[in-house]
Symmetry: C2
Subunit: 377 residues, 2 copies
DNA sequence: CGAGCTGATGGTAGCGCTACCATAAATGAA
DNA sequence: TTCATTTATGGTAGCGCTACCATCAGCTCG
């Protein structure tokens, strides 16, 4: 009696024996049913069912020097934005044989490199990574990964392989222009922790204001004051925004620029905080003060007044990334290396100083919004 | 010349050759350095570094009939609650050899079973699953999984193996009692999609009101009206709550019970919607109407007025689940099978009808809150 | 001083699957 | 018919690692 180390689960050989075929035929039938004749396929299916056979993925990966793991790196799990992206990814994967492995980089390049190295041990079928600001080592790993690599949530002239996202610069510029058109003149930029995408937004904001001759550095807190505020100890080191941060940052900005009459917030969570700060101070929105956010999360529509925002297509980005990945794995041609999914400027009450929206519909929920597409969709 | 199928990456044999030792010694040195003498260990480490050797996880998993994958099943990626749990899990895993594989069940038992079956193919090192309402098939898979299984976010007398969570019933009951003590008498229960945990909360709410002789079925919309509202098409089928839902549900409830003077919301997102609905109607909170939520997400503290909520320890649940898992994997004793991490009742302005909080601190941010622990921590 | 033990190291035979050929049967072209 | 080509199936040798012995030096102990 040979000393088997197996754990009792049926193997492909058991299935083959039961179906009266060679094990390689079973392997083929399971991978691509069309490779096997109908008669044998049915026998094999029956044997699989009877034995409750479940393929061992490690063995498959080892034998084929390729796993079914799709590695996904996101900078945050807590932010809705990336949760939406992940949902798109899971939806795109559907019931295929591919499996998702998520890594959370926490906006830390070293951590990203570590996770990337970890993922590569699996010899993944593909990689989906957020953004374009990898470290040189990370970039090198991606280029040597020997599998499709899709970058997401930003644009770049020089993607590793393919990139799907939108221009944060253009989106922010468009929203800032909307604020200008709505009659605001002293428009601030409210930001928490800055990352490369935030920087793109800041530059779009600056560009719009400079073109209108309205730019004033005093109106932006970006990065500058965060250290001091963080030192006050009210925020943890996780680099995500909270509404409390929004309130504190707005208060800070007002201290410096008391005549500020609107803010463009780097994200919706900060915008929500800004709205509450206005409520608490009895400042009327949009009459006295305009507020715009970025991403158009759920609560923006529900707020009172409803908050304007830049709608970004996170689900679509995640979904399309997987579709592109699968296409590359199937050897199909996959079009452009750079895909711009665009954005929409959603104009709601919080920036409607001119009263353009009133009368556009009943004042009930959902409150009226004017949606304007942007980017090269 | 033998036909090798390798992809050129160095293997353990290459390292062994370079270090002048047997390959099994390299294997041991990599898994547990203490098994090898210092001299050889150093030689091996050097060889690993020089060759840039990276262990192949598939081969390891195949040979040891055990992988380093920890499967995690959550019902939603979009809800902050589970994002926080995941963060705790990732933090608990830290830089160990374990790897997380997340599955999103979308509150669908069939999908959960499918994901579970998928995870078992990896012969995972451990499993972390949300809740106790598995299907019979799912439960059976967990019991036959042949690895530690930790259930989280609820309590049960009969865990598969170990459960870490808190009592939704007790938490809801405590918050409802707080509303009663604050002087509210017609307290509604506002809920979107119900799951087993929501049902626990509902029962706690009912019990508190019945004990006070205040229960009235007209005051709860739970489940009942959702079908009709969903049919109106304003919500998608993903079973998560939005602030817009909160507004609509509150409006609906008011239509039925115009004398309602407070709501206990099944989650914070609905509570936020309720607050906005009050704003929009010019109803003053907490004077005319009290609002309480569940989970104490970031924005509750920042809202104006600040919103009362039940603080749940999601991060801790995730973190402790991993710690327990690791302990079991290391063969250490692991204490109780049922761990109650408790909850806190966070009393803020939105339920402060009696004015107990005013003067407790400056009216600035963060607004004062009275926090009361609950559950058997 | 040999039996028995411990601790470090190595050889070998799997783990369960698939790549790579070989083979056999069926089909088509000449 | 004959030979080339395609289609369906199988045998075998890995994939890279670890479980399971075996070995051997050093050491204790009766």
């Amino acid at each position: 009696m040979s000393k088997r180390r197996t754990d009792g689960r049926p193997t492909i050989a058991d299935v083959a024996a039961r179906a009266g075929v060679g094990s390689i035929t079973v392997s083929r039938a399971l991978r691509d049913a069309s490779l096997v004749s109908d008669v044998l396929r049915e026998k094999i299916d029956a044997a699989v069912r009877e034995l409750g056979y479940v393929p061992n993925l490690s063995a498959r990966a080892l034998a084929s020097t390729r796993s079914d793991v799709v590695g996904v790196l996101v900078p945050s799990l807590t932010q809705h934005i990336f949760a939406d992206v992940l949902r798109g990814i899971y939806d795109g994967i559907g019931k295929t044989r591919l499996n998702i492995q998520v890594g959370n980089t926490r906006y830390d390049l070293d951590e990203e490199d570590r996770l990337l190295a970890e993922l590569l041990r699996y010899k993944p079928a593909g990689l989906i990574v957020s953004g374009i600001d990898q470290s040189p080592a990370g970039r090198a790993m991606l280029e040597r990964a020997n599998c499709p690599v899709i970058q997401i949530m930003d644009l770049s002239d020089d993607p590793v392989n393919k990139i799907i996202g939108f221009s944060h610069h253009d989106a922010a510029k468009a929203m800032t222009q909307h604020l200008i058109e709505s009659g605001y003149r002293r428009i601030g930029f409210l930001s928490g922790w800055m990352n490369s995408r935030s920087k793109g937004r800041l530059s779009g904001y600056v560009e719009a204001l400079e073109e209108a001759g309205l730019f004033d550095p005093a109106l932006t807190n970006a990065a500058g004051d965060l250290g001091a505020l963080a030192a006050r100890g009210s925020w943890d080191k996780h680099q995500y925004s909270t509404p409390v941060m929004g309130r504190e940052l707005l208060a800070d900005l007002w201290r410096r620029a008391p005549d500020m009459d609107a803010v463009f917030c780097n994200n919706d969570v900060l915008a929500l905080g800004a709205l509450f700060e206005c409520h608490a101070r009895g400042i009327s929105v949009p009459g006295d003060f305009g507020i715009a956010g970025f991403n158009d999360e759920d609560f923006m529509e529900a707020a009172s007044p409803a908050l304007s925002s830049v709608r970004t297509h996170r689900w679509k980005v995640g979904h399309d990334a997987v579709v592109a990945l699968r296409r590359q794995l199937d050897g199909e041609p996959d079009g452009e290396r750079v895909v711009d999914v665009g954005f929409d400027i959603v104009k709601r009450a919080s920036t409607d100083r001119l009263g353009l929206l009133s009368g556009m519909g009943e004042a009930d929920i959902p409150q009226p919004a004017a949606v304007v597409g942007g980017g090269t969709v």
